[in-house]
Symmetry: C2
Subunit: 478 residues, 2 copies
């Protein structure tokens, strides 16, 4: 990161020229108004920045980036600022300018027959989902923050969510990108082709790069046919191993129509039922483990429901499944999902929670949960692991609630220690210490602990090739 602070005189000149580019309404300087752009989602950091710049077009972004490159002023590209690893806020030194894309929020085009939509970086995810729906199409990226996160951020962090199993991560949903490079040049890679083998797939570099290689200003995204049949089940499973086995059976029996396959332990249900309005146990008796299964099909009564029922019945007879309920109504479906989505909120009411967003091969999820749970129990008596999430992707949110009655602050002081313990196990399982949240500021040191020196060097070579001055989101990711 640049160690030079922005002097008052330099800042005044920069401010004047930025105002020429974006206008007065494109600048935020007031401390209170700046706060939402400086504070991270988890509330762990509040950064400093003399200016938040909000350009309204690709050309304005390009001019801002060029100006800052010439002045050697570092930039923090920012979307909805809903990330969980402090990747989209400046550091406390106050040397970076925040480049917020929120005003670039147009849907530029939708081509239903090509199953594509072209959007600007500042479009809210939900806005894109709705635009697709109006054209009788589905944009399948779906995650908790969808009402406020922006697609530029989703792409820059390669967002995941609850439908990755069927439709892939954000990366898999991109056909083309428009990117402002660190020197201010605009790369027009806005292709809307399913097949294009004419060179390196440059867009892949910017997806998941957390703004360290350039600023994504627009994208062409894949759309899918809207499902006509949605089948949702809540099933008790014997253990995580039974969940993995059931997943394979559901994938096969449904012709790969499994959209979501989410694991929940009993403690997550207990927490949700205790603290989250409208949550109740969907099954008669309590069980140790559950899965929420959702399938998308093409026709009402198209056979998916029967396929799932048969699969669950066979699994029940074999002892993999203890009990199961299929949603009969949209309200019942929503109730199943409320349980799944209520877990994070519910954990807040149970004191401190030390979080992990990890992945391992799907087949190794059961062994991972067993070993990691035992290890944290040994390290911290009474700790309450809540291992839930996207088991279909091998992605477990291994969140550790504090022991009952423990002092929250004292418990949270063990954050790094427990992270380290869990991540070591993840690493031994060939896993990832950040499955979907990215690295940002929070996991940068931890990431460097596990990446091979060669892989870090390869990343640095890419960084140097595109941002030799190191001005794009410095101190994040790498």
């Amino acid at each position: 990161m640049s160690t030079e602070t922005i002097t008052t005189g330099r800042l005044a000149e920069l401010r004047r020229r930025l105002a020429e580019i974006v206008g007065e309404r494109g600048l935020i300087e007031d401390q209170d108004e700046k706060l939402p752009y400086l504070r991270d989602q988890r509330g762990r950091y509040i950064g400093k920045s003399p200016l938040v710049v909000r350009p309204a077009s690709t050309e304005e972004v390009a001019q801002v980036v060029r100006l800052c490159a010439e002045a050697a002023v570092p930039l923090v590209p920012q979307g909805g600022n809903t990330g969980l690893v402090a990747g989209s806020i400046p550091f406390e030194a106050g040397e970076e300018i925040v480049l917020n894309l929120g005003r670039m929020n147009r849907v530029r085009a939708l081509d239903a027959e090509n199953f594509t939509i072209t959007v600007e970086a500042g479009c809210i995810l939900q806005q894109i989902q709705q635009a697709a729906e109006e054209a009788d199409r589905l944009f399948p990226l779906s995650l908790g923050a969808e009402g406020s996160c922006q697609i530029g951020g989703n792409l820059s962090t390669n967002a995941g969510g609850v439908q990755v199993l069927r439709y892939g991560n954000a990366r898999d949903l991109v056909l083309g990108l428009e990117v402002v490079l660190p020197d201010g040049q605009v790369w027009d890679g806005l292709r809307s082709l399913r097949k294009d083998n004419t060179g390196y797939d440059l867009k892949q570099l910017f997806i998941g790069a957390e703004g360290t290689l350039g600023v994504i200003t627009a994208a062409v995204l894949k759309l899918y046919a809207r499902p006509r049949e949605v089948v949702t089940a809540f099933a008790a499973v014997r253990d995580p191993g039974a969940a993995v086995s059931l997943l394979g059976r559901c994938r096969a029996a449904s012709g790969e129509s499994v959209t979501s396959f989410e694991l929940l332990p009993r403690i997550a249900l207990d927490f949700a039922c205790r603290h989250v309005e409208g949550c109740q146990d969907p099954l008669e008796a309590p069980h140790e483990w559950y899965v929420l299964i959702e399938l998308f099909g093409g026709r009402e009564k198209g056979g998916l429901r029967e396929a799932l029922e048969e699969t669950l019945m066979t699994a029940y007879e074999e002892g993999l499944v203890g009990d199961a309920s299929l949603a009969e109504t949209e309200a019942q479906r929503a109730a199943f999902w409320r349980l799944r989505e209520g877990v994070v909120e519910a954990q807040r009411h149970e004191g401190g929670s030390i979080k992990h967003d990890v992945s391992v091969p799907v087949s190794r999820v059961p062994a991972f949960i067993a070993e990691a749970s035992a290890a944290v129990a040994k390290a911290c008596e009474g700790i309450r692991p809540v291992a839930f999430g996207h088991v279909g992707d091998g992605n477990i949110h291994f969140n550790l609630s504090q022991p009952e009655g423990a002092d929250t602050a004292t418990y949270l002081e063990r954050w790094d220690e427990l992270n380290s313990l869990v991540h070591d196990i993840v690493h031994r399982f060939g896993g990832s210490i950040s499955a979907e949240h990215g690295i940002g500021r929070m996991k940068r040191d931890e990431n460097a602990r596990f990446k091979s020196p060669l892989e870090l060097e390869m990343m640095r070579r890419v960084k140097a090739a595109f941002d030799p001055q190191g001005l794009m989101n410095p101190g994040k990711l790498l």
Copy 2:
């Protein structure tokens, strides 16, 4: 490319040291034995090379690459050498060594519950398909050369094929890679994770790079559930516009279970029925355009057949479809596919064929075919365009058979001229001049004509970051 030729003395020393690494059986020097490694699939070029080196392990590849890097000898990485753009053979100058991966042909691991297979670069595609099938899984990459092409080449060229619509290109099927970098270092990126957001997605750089950034030695590939229901239809459509409309309807009605959606014009059927054994018109009356549709489902009698029948019936009533036949038996299904696959062979019997492997947005396929057909007819009276292929991906093999009775050699002299004419139109439609075959040697100049200077510069920056000496497959792609 290195302009220094390999002197006899230098070569002898290099040969000696290579033999130490790969053994005598890992070297091919005899001219006749070398020929299959030097001649391109289309028979347009025969390159020269003093040596074909065939290492048997990643470590041997690494040592070979390191040795050549130190000696500044350029390498041509090669798989099954089935590519169509002369990307995997050396130039005529004889300065490059061929690094053939064919001996690295082990399936290292298969994890059915993780839906992954780990393979070495030299595995034949069909071998991988079979290994998957034995584990009751599907590896969906499928293309004409599958009996002899190797997965390392498939990944290096981001191969497409007939099931991209459902399962994606080769790129989309990769979870992890092992790569020998141009300096001989081995990057172990063999992860088998569905989600991993811990930095730049480096594997994407090597996929589709045609061996210009390093040598892929192994990969972790995604597997899918094996279909239990396969529904195949051959339908006459009013025109390409009707085909595109029908595609959208089939995608929706089947819950995105369309695996293949291939366009065929009448002339392709005529050619196939005339020249390819076992080909016959599946419909009673002739029509101008056809589509071959295939759906994969999870259960026998799972409803996909009815979904397709209903969709075709509605389209028939609206005039989009003229007639249609659903395969009742595996033999009938094979007969439909024989027509599709027979087109390339059949065209050989109709004299010279000037080929294009292009893509445009799916919605623009009809306008593209109309405009390009008119343009080539104007340029060459009596020319016979055979516009067929993967319309579901917007990928048309726009192959132009010579006028009846014309002199073949004279016609083929117009190859570059007609390529240029067609590619200009493709470019105006926002398309790609190489949808699935890559650039190699054959399309390098043509590609440079359409890529923006900035995009070429970005590609060069990547190349320089990984192969500063320019020793990996020089003169190809870039």
